[in-house]
């Protein structure tokens, strides 16, 4: 595809966040939007994620944003005219001690306050929801039937397809190599295939975002995002309806199991994370053994199920595990939505809408707390309470 030499907005990063922003800009009638993706769309972190979508967070900002996002997810297949396989299969957190039950109660109260219908359930109820669950090991569950999952593959494809219908151009295998800034204003983006003049750039590169910030003349640590390797294993398909919700006892090393909404295989994750470098997505045997130790404790029958795949990806982590979303005040026309710390997929519809509206209208109707996610908070030494981080 011949590349444009001028664009109204250039989005760097063709993952679910960049594509959602592109789609929403197109929907708002912005012509000449370009997405630059250094590899193929979805290849960075989106295609490696565990597909979960939840509003069970433990702070007001994330709960409100995710309550809104779930409403967006419910309509997204219709909106994109492509089935993204969204299912409200719920999230089931399981407590192993009385202290944890008290923490669950506190979180549920906060979630209920903002309209998220999480409730405390008994192990017997949990077993009805997840029939092969080792229910005896748990005292109670926090259950939100409105949480869910979707197919990362079809979401990326759907956003890209619809964005293209709106005139967005997506250049894959086209890395940005420099951002031209003069007198604190953006002039253009240099790519490996040539220059694109623009006044507006969105850094949606997630774990690679510090490199993009540096291209614009900022410090790499302005938004200090670090690559933490997380891995998943996946089993052969099992009968549908066995482990449909994301099922997670946080006290068991943040381990979780969830059936893939498309093929019914079981995705197994655990909190064994490692700070690594940007080329390291090598799966490890240590992880395989660790995750299966926990997965077979949660669901004993998994012992008899074959493991067929294992892969790794990054949590693009900020110091408080909350993303940086908003305008970068040092450079006119420079925006960021990155550092999602494992939550980019579930947040994508609302974040894309909010950034697109911010660019076009200077404000947004999305209930996104701009102060909470302020990209400048790190240099001020302000940290949020850490976002509850799992799947």
């Amino acid at each position: 595809m011949r590349m444009k030499s001028r664009a109204e907005v250039v989005i760097i990063g063709g993952g679910v966040i960049g594509l959602s922003i592109a789609y929403h800009l197109g929907k708002l009638g912005v012509e000449d939007v370009v997405v630059l993706e250094k590899n193929y769309i979805g290849s960075g972190s989106t295609f490696r994620c565990a597909s979960g979508i939840r509003a069970q967070f433990t702070d007001e900002a994330n709960i409100k944003l995710q309550k809104y996002n779930i409403e967006r997810w419910k309509r997204l297949s219709d909106e994109l005219e492509h089935d993204i396989n969204f299912k409200q299969s719920g999230y089931l957190f399981l407590a192993t001690s009385e202290e944890e039950v008290e923490v669950f109660k506190k979180n549920i109260k906060l979630q209920n306050k903002f309209g998220v219908p999480t409730r405390l359930i008994t192990p017997e109820e949990a077993k009805e929801i997840v029939p092969p669950l080792n229910a005896e090991a748990f005292l109670a569950g926090a259950w939100n039937p409105e949480d869910g999952k979707a197919s990362p593959f079809h979401v990326v494809y759907g956003f890209a397809k619809k964005a293209k219908e709106f005139g967005v151009e997506i250049y894959e295998y086209t890395p940005a190599v420099d951002i031209i800034v003069e007198n604190c204003e953006i002039k253009g983006v240099k790519t490996e295939r040539g220059m694109i003049e623009t006044e507006t750039v969105v850094n949606a590169a997630n774990v690679w975002a510090p490199i993009i910030n540096e291209m614009a003349g900022l410090s790499r640590d302005f938004v200090p995002i670090k690559p933490y390797k997380h891995q998943l294993v996946k089993t052969e398909p099992i009968a549908p309806g066995q482990i449909e919700p994301l099922t997670c006892p946080p006290a068991w090393n943040d381990s979780y199991v969830i059936q893939d909404g498309e093929d019914g295989g079981v995705l197994c994750g655990t909190g064994l994370e490692k700070l690594t470098h940007l080329d390291d997505v090598q799966p490890t045997y240590d992880f395989m053994r660790e995750v299966l130790k926990w997965a077979t404790k949660i669901i004993p029958a998994l012992k008899y199920v074959h493991v067929i795949r294992q892969w790794a990806g990054f949590y693009a982590k900020t110091p408080d595990s909350n993303p940086a979303i908003g305008k970068i005040n040092y450079i006119d026309g420079f925006y960021i939505a990155a550092g999602f710390s494992g939550h980019g997929f579930m947040m994508a519809p609302g974040v894309g809408e909010a950034i697109a509206e911010l660019i076009v209208k200077g404000k947004s109707k999305v209930p996104l707390d701009w102060d909470w996610y302020d990209p400048h908070r790190f240099e001020r030494g302000e940290l949020r309470s850490a976002a509850f981080q799992i799947g």
């Binding site: 494809y157 130790k293 012992k303 074959h306 795949r309």
Partner: protein, 99 residues
């Protein structure tokens, strides 16, 4: 050729030649996206059977040479293994596979 809908390319996930060609005709010409939208090569065989055939279909339809099409990553384990074996609680399931 009407029988393309009966020609199974990916046996694990039952993907037909017709489905693959239809998606290529819609403009999905990257094997990475074809793989994920159709789940080709993501089943127990790890793509050993189907991916070479997908490469040849893609090469024929796009005019690329087969060696210009980079195969998607191979994932471990190379063959399916029961979770119980990997956590050291079970012996290998060779008997099961022979039966």
């Amino acid at each position: 050729m009407s029988d393309k809908k009966n020609i199974i390319i990916c046996r694990c996930n039952e993907v037909t030649q017709e489905e693959i060609e239809a998606l290529i005709d819609q403009g999905v010409t990257d094997i990475e996206m074809l793989k994920r939208l159709l789940r080709i090569g993501m089943g127990p065989c790890q793509g050993r059977t189907c991916l070479p055939m997908v490469v040849s279909i893609l090469a024929r339809k796009t005019g690329k040479k087969p060696d210009e099409i980079k195969l998607p990553a191979t994932r471990i384990p190379v063959r399916p293994v029961p979770a119980g074996v990997l956590v050291g609680e079970m012996e290998s399931d060779e008997n099961e596979e022979q039966s």
